[in-house]
């Protein structure tokens, strides 16, 4: 019996020691480390000199400036970004991550950073629309693991649209060009910068945004993700985002990248 008590006491001590520096860290925020998948211009990418650049990254820097802390960026591929956050490789995910119920189970999300609609692109003059009636019997390409894949498989595939999943977005574009696909579904800004504005995409155009979403598979908006055990950090980030809107800094950064408003005030209102 004594032995068990001793063991218990030892365990308590160990826990206490482990917890102590942790508590100190939470009190004094000196720097925020962001995990970024820097392959997604214009939101986040690496400049030729190896610096992190993009709309998301600029917003991150502005948030750090508001909080008067140091900003550090760590490159991390998107599919491993949540496990890496949980492994404490960085404090927050800043990588165009859309809030979805599944992700919200494992990560806490900040208030809205920005919002981009999901849109269909197809050959100019094809007359296709992102609706079941228009796409019936056609083949639509999506990138595996994206909310767009879930969307197409939830609403379109059961109703006679052929949905094909690809490993990467560039492969979707390649098959759209080769003619295997009639249309492809992805983020509107990604479609615009990654394909339509390149010489290859000259014959293609936005066919419309996906708006029908009763089951809410497209999620709400794009936000910063933090670990569930750090509500203090989340609160600070939320405060900084609100501040950026209030003092006009957000609009200044937005104007640097886009000629339209990327902040969806409607979605922000619905935020929990």
């Amino acid at each position: 019996m004594k032995k068990i008590f001793a063991l218990g006491a030892a365990a308590m001590c160990a826990l206490g020691i482990a917890a102590a520096p942790h508590a100190a860290q939470a009190k004094q925020l000196t720097q925020i480390t962001f995990g970024v998948d820097a392959t997604y211009p214009p939101f986040e990418s690496l400049s030729p000199s190896g610096k992190f650049v993009g709309f998301d990254v600029d917003l991150g820097r502005a948030i750090c400036a508001e909080l008067k802390v140091k900003c550090v960026f760590v490159n991390q591929s998107f599919d491993g970004i949540i496990p890496a956050l949980q492994a404490r490789k960085f404090d927050a995910i800043l990588s165009s991550m859309t809030v979805t119920p599944d992700r919200a189970k494992v990560v806490d999300f900040s208030s809205e950073m920005f919002d981009e609609p999901t849109s269909l692109i197809a050959k100019k003059g094809s007359g296709l629309m992102p609706t079941v009636a228009s796409l019936k019997g056609k083949t639509v390409g999506v990138e595996a693991g994206t909310i767009q894949e879930t969307y197409a498989k939830t609403y379109w595939q059961p109703n006679g649209v052929k949905v094909v999943s690809y490993q990467g977005q560039d492969q979707v574009y390649a098959d759209l060009l080769s003619g295997r696909l009639d249309a492809s579904l992805q983020d509107s800004v990604e479609a615009d910068y990654g394909f339509l504005k390149t010489p290859k995409g000259a014959d293609y155009a936005l066919a419309g945004n996906a708006t029908y979403d009763p089951q809410d598979v497209l999620g709400s908006y794009i936000a910063i993700g933090v670990r569930k055990d750090e509500p203090a950090l989340l609160k600070k980030i939320n405060w900084a985002i609100a501040k950026l809107h209030a003092n006009g800094e957000y609009n200044k950064i937005q104007a640097k990248y886009f000629n339209f408003s990327i902040y969806n005030a409607e979605a922000a209102k619905q935020a929990p």
Partner: protein, 234 residues
Amino acid sequence: MIEILQQYWKPFLWTDGYNITGLAMTAWLLVSACGIGFCLALPLAIARNARNPLIWFPVWLYTFIFRGTPLYVQLLLIYTGVYGFGFVQHNEALNEFFRQGLNCTILSFGLNTGAYTTEIFAGSIKETNHGEVDAALAFGMSKITLYRRVIIPSALRRALPVYSNEIILMLHATTLAFTATVPDILKVANDAYSQTYNAFDAFGLAAMMYLCVSFTLIFMFRKAERRFLAFLQP
């Protein structure tokens, strides 16, 4: 693990409701590729051992090219490259064939394993015991009968251990199929992973399934070897 199993057992085994996926797709890829490979390899292995360079050289070139380049590159060439040619898209039959990712995948897997199998069979034909051939000739067998009754059966038996290796390597190679949008076991594992962010369970499950298939194949080949190679046992 339980959560993934509950949600994904069906796609992992045979279907996501619309397409064949998972284990059924992997098995179909393996069977069809190895079927094509075997049918291709048998005549080519005989041609590979011909004396006439006009016959053996093209076969040598085929096996050299397909064994000398990665399967991944071959798959990309056939799936993306060939379909990019104008004449393929304008020919009705070719267009229909190459439009489907599954056809491209089976074709490239079949050609690839065909090249390896050709070399395996050719090697074992070459090493046929001279005594057996002499005896058959002394019996007055024609060339065709000689191959049909003596050389081929004996060569295939002796090739069995190496051939079983090739089949298992082919099973592992089917993991490339999703490059051409074919939803095999690994694609379902990827889906499960991106849904739950639990990498170890999602891919661990896939690994277990591959292990089960490998084990079944090894077991079957072991049985076959016991039976067909009994005459070689000490």
